[in-house]
Assembly symmetry: C2
Homo-oligomer: 340 residues x 2
DNA sequence: TTGTACGCGTTATCAT
DNA sequence: ATGATAACGCGTACAA
């Protein structure tokens, strides 16, 4: 009568019990490796299990245990960025690794529409996960609200400005940007500009702030070219505009490696040599940095570390520990290569 | 007494029922929008719901409904490839979109270790998903075995050679490779080589087979340089070896866009101009293709389409339809740009 | 229209 | 050592 997707009825503990001629309780005990079960019963039950092809229904177990041993990994990125940004894969792998060590299942949920937002919200409140790692939430993100109201153990990678009582892990974009700009200045450049990206995000504006503070009195707003995204294309186009406007430029801090790669291409098209005519530094130390010619000097972003650390923060809460709401910042060493 | 991660006890249907002064059955009915409930009851219950802050426990609902309305998306890639390959993100987005339209939750599970394999196997048999989309399973993959034995509705993206009674969606790597090689030959090149990648995968060996068949009698094995991965670096190094061995070469089919980008860089370092000295074509039409200088002529791989189609195949099985085990192949138009 | 009672597959608490 | 039995939170015949 039913068009249910269930193909073959799956065996339950009950089936095993009748097959082995014992009670469900005893079966449950051997499954969970508890003491106080006779060798007779154990062997009989083990035989019955493989005979009827029993596999435990974790969903039912979770219902009574009141936990799932699973942690959500929510990625909420604008379509294009998700494909473009190599960091996000690394963050995911880092989180998966940390959760895996603690025997927790990472389940990644992607939000790509309002419909997704609502469905994921239902999923989170449905008891399928014990906690969540959230990467790149936007300001005033509905998902952030849901997590708060559910008070689901959580950790954010990066911190939207409106994050109040939720822990996060990130890097100091401002200090890192300032450090690499200083380093660039030490090479003797006198007209140093920046291709600033994604100024609507805290990472974008912080990197610009660091650049500005490194230059101090020598800061010249006309040497800053804002572009919307951290992308190759944006870098290419931004650099073309900047070169047209300020031909004297001899140093560039690009807001990301992808942007830097685009900028370098634009320089080559314009007949400028890197690093002879213009010194270039980037940000991320992503795979991009080794693909440019010459290889890019950049700020190393500890992507897998960010994911792993965020996962650990969630796991700690699951153990009942109180999270540190101040947030944790990871180190970002400068990697100096040939582009400056 | 308990160190449970549960912070605040969540309200249940029962709580709503007592608050509204009705029975649980009635509450359940208004939640599921059924008929036969008085306006009085409905308003009282709706008030009670928001008062006690009730959110449905989907996990419990699934237990009784015997389905989860969730579909797994399993990615089993060698570490590096996962980060490198832009296609996988697009496939994921395509699958998510198709599932989203059908109001199903996509849950992505990544397998990055043996431990992961075992845990994911438990997860799949635990009743958390009604079906799975599997991307890039290896030959003799344990996960494939699990899926078969569970007979979980599934669809593979790409098809490992040992896939028997499981449906898949893919592209015709051989025919596509042959087509673009022919197109390259039409530009008048006489010494055309290939940087062949990942020959241990069917995609890799099929692309080589297509190249070979396009050349026919003119095929010369010494013009084929095998590299292990579909990566930029492998392309760069492979091209260097090929140039050293066969300086006369004037055309290259690279097994992927990333490989082609690496190869082009190697050509530039060696002082060869593209496309004047050497014509280059790639495969994938990924973001790489627009980053090379000049832009890459390549085979378009319908990544989002692959994901969407695979998801639809799973959804069809969930509706009780029998899957087409022959597999479905998607179109791969040639995109001609400036590199050849 | 509404309430009752049972079942989904487990684990846990009792007795025995 | 083992077997009833009560949860877990929900849907649903069936009865009222």
């Amino acid at each position: 009568m039913s068009l249910s997707p269930i193909r073959r009825k799956r065996a339950t503990i009950h089936d095993v019990a009748v097959e082995a001629g014992v009670s469900r309780g005893t079966v449950s005990r051997v499954i969970n490796g508890e003491r106080y079960v006779s060798d007779d019963a154990r062997t009989a039950i083990e035989a019955a299990i493989s005979k009827v092809g029993y596999v435990p229904n974790t969903a039912a177990r979770n219902l009574v245990m009141q936990r799932s041993e699973a942690v959500g990994f929510i990625v909420h990125e604008p379509h294009s960025l998700f494909l473009e940004d190599p960091n996000i894969g690394a963050i995911m792998l880092g989180a998966n690794d940390a959760l895996s060590r603690a025997d927790h299942q990472m389940v990644c949920l992607v939000i790509d529409s309002d419909r997704d937002t609502r469905r994921v919200a239902r999923y989170l409140s449905g008891g399928f996960v014990d906690g969540v790692v959230v990467v790149s939430a936007r300001e005033n993100d509905p998902i952030t609200r849901i997590i708060e109201s559910l008070d689901l153990p959580a950790a954010f990678v990066g911190h939207p400005p409106d994050l109040r009582r939720l822990p996060f892990v990130g890097i100091d974009n401002r200090a890192s940007a300032e450090a690499i700009t200083r380093r660039l200045l030490q090479t003797g450049r006198t007209r140093v500009g920046m291709i600033a990206a994604a100024l609507d995000r805290d990472s974008g504006s912080d990197r610009l702030a660091g650049f500005r503070s490194a230059l101090g009195d020598r800061f010249d707003p006309s040497l800053v070219e804002p572009v919307p995204f951290y992308s190759f294309k944006a870098g290419f186009e931004g650099m073309q505009r900047l070169l047209a406007r300020e031909p004297e430029i001899d140093g560039i801090f690009a807001a990301s490696d992808a942007v830097a790669a685009g900028a370098i291409d634009a320089m080559k098209v314009a007949g400028r040599s890197v690093p002879r005519d213009i010194g270039v530094v980037g940000f991320d130390d992503s795979a991009w940095a080794e693909r440019t010619q010459p290889a890019l000097s950049t700020v190393h972003q500890p992507a897998t570390g960010l994911g792993a650390r965020a996962a650990e923060i969630v796991l700690a809460q699951l153990r009942g520990e109180e999270p540190d709401l101040a947030g944790v910042l990871l180190e970002t060493p400068i990697v100096w290569r040939g582009s400056a």
